[in-house]
Symmetry: C2
Subunit: 332 residues, 2 copies
Amino acid sequence: MRVTIADIAKRAGVSVNTVSRALSGKDGVSEETRAKIVKIARELNYRPNLLARGMRQDRADFIGVLVLDIGNTVFSRMIRGIENELVGESMTIIIGNSDENVAKERHYLEMMIMTNCRGVIISHASTEALRFLKKEGVPFVVLDRDTQGFPCDQVYVDNVSMGYQATKHLVDLGHRDIIFISKQSEVDFDHRKRAQGYELACGEHGLRQRTRVYECVDAAEAKLLIEAIWQEEQPTGLVIGQHSLAEGVLAGLTGLGVRIPEELSVVIIGEPTWASFLPWTFTTIERPLERIGEMAARLLLNRTSNKLTDDYQRCVLESHLVVRGSTGPPRN
Amino acid sequence: MRVTIADIAKRAGVSVNTVSRALSGKDGVSEETRAKIVKIARELNYRPNLLARGMRQDRADFIGVLVLDIGNTVFSRMIRGIENELVGESMTIIIGNSDENVAKERHYLEMMIMTNCRGVIISHASTEALRFLKKEGVPFVVLDRDTQGFPCDQVYVDNVSMGYQATKHLVDLGHRDIIFISKQSEVDFDHRKRAQGYELACGEHGLRQRTRVYECVDAAEAKLLIEAIWQEEQPTGLVIGQHSLAEGVLAGLTGLGVRIPEELSVVIIGEPTWASFLPWTFTTIERPLERIGEMAARLLLNRTSNKLTDDYQRCVLESHLVVRGSTGPPRN
DNA sequence: ATGAAAGCGCTAACAA
DNA sequence: TTGTTAGCGCTTTCAT
């Protein structure tokens, strides 16, 4: 059997109460008894039972983290940030993976509630999840997503700015004919915002009539799309709104024999790991992923400690332009 | 306050015991009372308190997962596999990130023990961690690592085979002058094994005197290394033992203007996400990462349910060769 | 400064 | 089949 405070109490000749107070750093214990107790605890290799403590206090030092796809670098880097912030607080992270599946998402939320966790950091698959958390009174922070009016704590990156920065970079290089390839999605407004940023930059530079946003659902469709587009028109600049689409677009461009950046400058919004070092490197707009995770953890800790109610915290981080080899002046 | 079985008992006019039995599917409850209780539980939106249950049963449905770097795709994909296997078992995953830091590793192990978790799946930073787990009597499975004689459950990929397959592929293409760039590490025997596989393949084909293994610690050093090597000699084939080194090696080769695969065929051992679709694609030897995670979870469940003691389970998975554009016949 | 005792929600042993 | 009761390990009143 594991060592309990009762064992320590017996050995020290004091009550369990005293042991509890001594070990949890409360006062009301003389320094000498505390020292004695701490010493014995160490000797016996005592480890507190987090379940017992959590039950008694009606809340455990657990934080739930629920993401759309744990296998995706974007999320795992954010989780890294969360972990980095929480490790010092002795919080235990409970992980959930929704796979963008509403039923799985709900399953994990139930689990997290059942463990009496302090709060949840979530990249939600459905707004229903957020409503549920609010209804259940679980503190939560939304990760990397502007909830579009749903009032809650949230950390995200300014998507309009991402689209804007990408486009502005091309404009500054002299491009006047720039298209945007966007991911189609009903639930996710982020892509729309990136496209808005693109339109904004175009508008500011008198390119309104040369503004085209194309939509597709995945990389495979993106490949067909760029092939079709190139048939019709040959812009000098291209902004890809989502790095997961990039692979299809690039495959298409390669097939067409389009040279980058000589014939076409390309900016990718997102963080493809391969962008940085390949012979053919890409200019990107990147999010500070670890930072997003850290901030989300911080906001959650704020909320759980301060018991705030309606004054939601919103943290908007900036993306940054990383210029590499896929952009240059327009052809001729 | 949350709904407890006492609330349900009162409402149903039965004892807490009956409620407990009814809800946990034990027999000794008539079907009609069970139905009534289940109905009430649902109405009241009852959720069992996992902490209370865990404490009473002296073990909770938690599984600890401790990896070297949660932000790394390799680990997050394995975690994805673990999650996939455990979600059906209603296990809760507690995540830990050691950053290859022994102190952090120990910290998380302590945490996991304190939550009475069922067992741990670990990619360890130190053998000390394994000794600790064994000493504490915590069931565990080592993830993606041959523990080199340390007796425990483990899932890993045959590293010798990885090196062998990579080299054999080049030999089959006609290469007779192949070098190997390896990652230097005292704790990790995997790299050494990959190099052994390389040597084995060379030996089998009479290339023993043309066998050279170069070592470096990271990508930056790898870049310098390949530059120095190319100064001295120009092999026709190159095996990169670790995909994280590839970025440096490729940067170096690009700088030197070496054409791939015309002048040099390259095989990368590992799973760089960018390998598959870029204009310049790479032949790789890949591990079934999700599968590794799934198997590890499965082994752990086996162990925790069967209470085996010394007959350790070892699961060796096969890597596979993915031929892409970076390999071809040797020059001239 | 310290101790006694209650109780968090649940399960399991024992009774009825 | 169902109820009573003890107790998991801890924290927290309330006494002393």
